[in-house]
């Protein structure tokens, strides 16, 4: 499966796509990337990706991972997932335009359609944000 076209894996479309690529996929973990640029929805007036932008990027990274897994299992459309809860979010700094973010998503347990996901976003190998999240599919 060609990882290049992210639209295969996530239901979101412009102007709110917040993941560029699915870089690597393993059984319970995946890595995505995003270059911060001012055309993104959540880049604020100071030219940085905002905290909500980082959370949406991490959520869409998890959604891309779920979309990849669904396609690998034969689905034709990526599942629509929603953030049910954000927990223990910690933002260290806001990345600026031009920086490339790499986000690692780790799969947690799933019960009743609610899956725990943890995400950590790095820029130049330095953690800029991390969080735990619950994604549920409608």
């Amino acid at each position: 499966m060609d990882l290049e076209d992210i639209k295969q894996f996530i239901p979101q479309r412009e102007p709110i796509i917040m993941v560029d690529r699915l870089v690597r996929v393993a059984a319970e973990e995946a890595v995505t990337s995003l270059v911060v640029r001012d055309t993104l929805c959540f880049v604020n007036e100071t030219g940085c990706l905002s905290e909500p932008g980082l959370i949406e990027h991490i959520a869409q990274s998890a959604s891309a991972f779920a979309g990849y897994a669904a396609r690998a299992a034969g689905a034709t459309k990526p599942p629509v997932g929603y953030i049910g809860e954000v927990k223990k979010f910690h933002c260290y700094r806001l990345p600026e335009c031009g920086e490339e973010l790499f986000t690692t998503i780790a799969w947690g347990p799933e019960v009743g359609g609610v899956r725990i996901v943890s995400g950590e976003t790095r820029a130049a190998d330095e953690v800029v944000a991390e969080t735990q999240m619950k994604i549920f599919t409608r």
Binding site: P109, V111, G112, V114, R115, I116
Partner: protein, 81 residues
């Protein structure tokens, strides 16, 4: 790990994660009510057991875990050797 050690550790974990007083975690109390679990937080219970005891609770087993005593028994009987 003795049963007493399991009970003490589980209660401390639950009390911290769900912000509930230790005193409320009596063996015959209902877990969902005591911890005010809903569809969003039920998975936290499963995650807590998985992270701390390396025990994966299949969804099919959940209905059999109603009281804290059921939970202690489940952990005790599924602890990896």
């Amino acid at each position: 790990m003795t049963r007493e050690e399991i009970i003490e550790k589980v209660n401390n974990l639950l009390s911290e994660e769900f912000e509930v007083d230790l005193g409320e975690l009596t063996p015959d109390a209902n877990i969902k009510e005591t911890l005010a679990l809903d569809s969003l937080s039920l998975v936290d219970l499963v995650a807590l057991v998985q992270q701390n005891y390396k025990i994966k609770i299949p969804v099919a087993d959940l209905p059999s875990i109603q009281t804290f005593n059921d939970l202690y028994n489940y952990i005790e009987s599924h602890l990896p050797a």
